[in-house]
Assembly symmetry: C2
Homo-oligomer: 401 residues x 2
C-alpha cells in the first residue's frame, strides 16, 4: 500500500464492478454497505455482533454529531475515534456539511463557512472546510470527506450553480488543509503543550484518505461540471452527494446513470446516504462501489424489516402467531433463532431487544445483499441476479411497508 488507501477492481460486469479497498485498518470488499455509526455506535447493534457475526469492515461516523458530542478534542485526547470507541476496523467520516443543512436552522452561510445553532443545546457553532478537516483529523478516520454544501433536491439551476461553485472552492480549501494536516507528524496544532505528548500517539503522517463530493442536484450539465472540477483538484476517491434529498426517484436514477460511469474508474465511487435495496442495485449497475444509509437501523427501531421478499412491518397483526423467521433466506443470528411472533411480541411490548434485534437483522440483510451482489458481479451474472432479487422484493412488497 503506497497511499493511505489502495483500491483494485477485480471484476466488471457491464458498468457494475467488484473489487477490494484496503485501508490501514481493514480489507473492504466492494460494492460495500457501510452501517451508519452516527455517534460512535451503530444504533442498537453492539460492535461484537458487527465484528464476529456480521463482519462489517467499515462503518460511517458523523462529524457533525461527534463535533458537538463528545467533541473532537475529547476524541483526540483518547487518540482518535477507534481508541475511544474500540471499533478498530475502518471508519469513513462525512464532513458535517450535510447535517448542518438538514438538522439545524438559523444557519448563516458565508464564503468562510457556516454558522449554526447546535440541535442539542442551541449553542452557536461554526464549521468550515478547515475546521471539518481538523475535526476529522482528530477523529482519525480512514476516509475523510471534503466539506460541501448540499442544496435541496429541487433547487433551480442558478441556485444549484452558486452552491456548486461554493462547494468547489470549499473542496479546494478542504484539500489544502487536509494536506497540511497529513504532512505534520502530530496533530498538535491546536493542543496545549501538555496535550501534545498524548497526541503524538495519533500522528496522521498521511494515513487518511480524502474523498471529493460531486454536487449539481438534478442538472446533468452541472453534475458533469462538478465532476470535472472536483477531479481537477484531485482526491483519493469521489462521492455523489445531494441525492435522496427529496427529489423524485427517476431524477436520482437519471443522475446516477449520467454521472457514475464518468467518475474516475481507478478510484472508489461512493453514493452518499442512499438508500433502499432497489437503489443500491440500481447504483451498482452504474458502477458505484460504496454506500451508507440509516435505513436498516432506523427501520429496525420502528418495526420495519427488510427481507428477501420485500419490506414488512413486524407490528402487523398477521405476524402474531407466525412461527417463521423474519426472512427465510437470512442466516443471521436473529433469523436462525427467533420467530416473527416472538419479535412482534417484543416490539408490541416496547422491549428494547425488539429494536436491537430488528436493527441487527436489517444490517445483516444489507451486508448480505452486497455480498451476493459482489458474487454475482464476479460470476458475470449481475443483471440476472438483480432482476431475480427485485422480482422477489416487489412480488410481496405491496402487503406491508
Amino acid at each position: 500500500m503506497n497511499g493511505p488507501i489502495d483500491f483494485k477492481i477485480d471484476s466488471t460486469d457491464g458498468n457494475a464492478r467488484s473489487g477490494i479497498l484496503r485501508t490501514r485498518r481493514s480489507i473492504v470488499e466492494t460494492p460495500v454497505f457501510m452501517p451508519v455509526g452516527t455517534q460512535a455506535a451503530v444504533k442498537g447493534v453492539r460492535f461484537e455482533w458487527l465484528e464476529d457475526e456480521l463482519d462489517a469492515r467499515i462503518i460511517l461516523g458523523n462529524t457533525y454529531h461527534l463535533f458537538l458530542r463528545p467533541g473532537h478534542e475529547l476524541i483526540r485526547r483518547f487518540g482518535g475515534l477507534h481508541k475511544f470507541s474500540t471499533w478498530d476496523r475502518s471508519i469513513l467520516t462525512d464532513s458535517g456539511g450535510f447535517q448542518v443543512f438538514s438538522l439545524t436552522d438559523l444557519r448563516k452561510l458565508s464564503e468562510e463557512g457556516v454558522e449554526f445553532r447546535s440541535h442539542l443545546d442551541g449553542s452557536k457553532q461554526f464549521l468550515s472546510p478547515e475546521i471539518s478537516m481538523e475535526v476529522q483529523a482528530a477523529i482519525d478516520s480512514e476516509i475523510v470527506m471534503a466539506f460541501d454544501e448540499c442544496p435541496p433536491g429541487d433547487a433551480g439551476f442558478e441556485k444549484t450553480r452558486e452552491s456548486l461553485d461554493l462547494t468547489i472552492r470549499w473542496a479546494d480549501r478542504s484539500k489544502k488543509r487536509f494536506d497540511e494536516l497529513q504532512a505534520v507528524q502530530s496533530t498538535s496544532f491546536s493542543l496545549s503543550s501538555e496535550q501534545v505528548k498524548q497526541a503524538e500517539a495519533c500522528t496522521l503522517n498521511r494515513k487518511q484518505a480524502l474523498f471529493g463530493i460531486i454536487q449539481g442536484a438534478g442538472h446533468f450539465d452541472l453534475r458533469t461540471e462538478s465532476l470535472e472540477r472536483t477531479v481537477e483538484i484531485g482526491f483519493d476517491g469521489y462521492a455523489i452527494g445531494g441525492l435522496s434529498v427529496g427529489e423524485e426517484k427517476d431524477v436520482m436514477y437519471g443522475v446516477l446513470e449520467h454521472i457514475a460511469p464518468k467518475m474516475p474508474g481507478d478510484a472508489p465511487r461512493y453514493l452518499m446516504g442512499v438508500g433502499t435495496p432497489e437503489d443500491l442495485l440500481e447504483a451498482v449497475s452504474h458502477g458505484i462501489d460504496m454506500f451508507d444509509c440509516v435505513m436498516p437501523t432506523r427501520n429496525g427501531r420502528t418495526g420495519g424489516v427488510f427481507t428477501s421478499q420485500g419490506k414488512i412491518n413486524i407490528r402487523n397483526a398477521r405476524f402474531a402467531e407466525d412461527e417463521g423467521p423474519l426472512d427465510p433466506e437470512c442466516e443471521c443470528s436473529v433469523c436462525k433463532r427467533y420467530s416473527r411472533a416472538y419479535l412482534r411480541h417484543l416490539y408490541q411490548a416496547g422491549e428494547m431487544t425488539a429494536a436491537t434485534m430488528l436493527s441487527h437483522h436489517n444490517v445483516a440483510y444489507y451486508l448480505n445483499l452486497m455480498k451476493r451482489t459482489r458474487q454475482a458481479i464476479a460470476n458475470g451474472k449481475f443483471e440476472s441476479f438483480r432482476k431475480a432479487t427485485l422480482l422477489n422484493l416487489t412480488e410481496n412488497e405491496a402487503v406491508d411497508v
Copy 2:
C-alpha cells in the same frame, strides 16, 4: 430426580447455605440471582449473552404481564414460554398477585379473586388462584408461585391478618388447582378440540413445582403463623413475599432474621423482589437461596451501575474522560472492552447500546456476586467475604447514586 425439582444443600456457613437446585431444564447453583424477564425477555440483554457469557440458569417471568400480552393462550399454542421465546433454561413465574396490586387501580378484591383493569388498555380482567395456576401451566414454567395478596409494607396488624388469612385460603386453592393440572396428561382443559393436538406436546404431567408465599408484613407473629400454615398446606419451596414494598430497611432485615431460618431447611427459600447487593448478602446470611429483582436492568436503563466499589451513575461528568472500565473487578464483555468515558458518551447521546450494555454489566455484577457468595460459603468464609464486600461498597458509595 423424583419430583419436578431436586434441591440439595452442599455447604452451610452459619445460617448461610449453598446448594444445587435441579429442574428438568437446568442445574441452578444457589444462592442464585434470577434476572427478571417480565415480558418474555430480560430488558436490553439478549438471551445469547445470558446463555453464553453470563451463564444465567434461571430467569423470572411475570404472569400478570404475559397474561395480558401476548396472552397465555397464544403462549400455550406455541407449546409454552420456552418454545415461544427460545429460552430453554429454567423459568420461575410469579403468580400475578403482586403486579395486580402494584400496577393497577380500580381493583375489586373478593374471596374469589381480584378484578382489575389492565394497565395496557383499561380492559376489565380477572385473576384468581385457579386462573393463575392455569396461566402458569400454559406458560409451562419450571417453578410456579401460589396466588397471594400482598398488603402494603406499613399495614397494621388487623389488616395484615385479614390479608394473610385470604392468602392462606388462596394458597390452598392454588395447590388444589395446581395438583389437578399436574395430574392431567395434557393442558387441554380450556382448548377447543382442534387445539388439543397442539397442546398434547406440552403435557404437564407433574413437571412443574409449586412454591408457597409467606406474608405478614412487619409483624413477626403473623410471619410465623403464615409460615406454619403455608408449610401445613405443603409446597416444593417457600418464598418470603411482601418485603421491599415500602417498609423501613430494619423492618425487612428484622423479618428476614426472624423467619428465614425457620423455613423448611430441605426446600428452596426464595426472597421475592429483593434487592440491593447489601440486601442479598443480608438475606443469604439468614439462609435465603433465591432472589429476583429488577434493579440491575432498571438501573442500567437510567445510567445506574453496580460496581465492586459501590453504585455509580454513568451520567456523572467525572466519567467524561475516564478510561477505566465500569468496574475494575468485573470480567464481563462490557468491562473487558469499553471505557466509562465511551459508555457515558453513549448514554448522554441517547444511544440504545448504553442501556443494553449497562444492563448487561449490572446483570453480570449480580450473577458474579452470587457466584462469589457461593464460593465463600463453600469455603466457610461467608462472613469475612460479606464484610469485605460491604466495606468496598460503602467506602465509595456516597459519591454518586
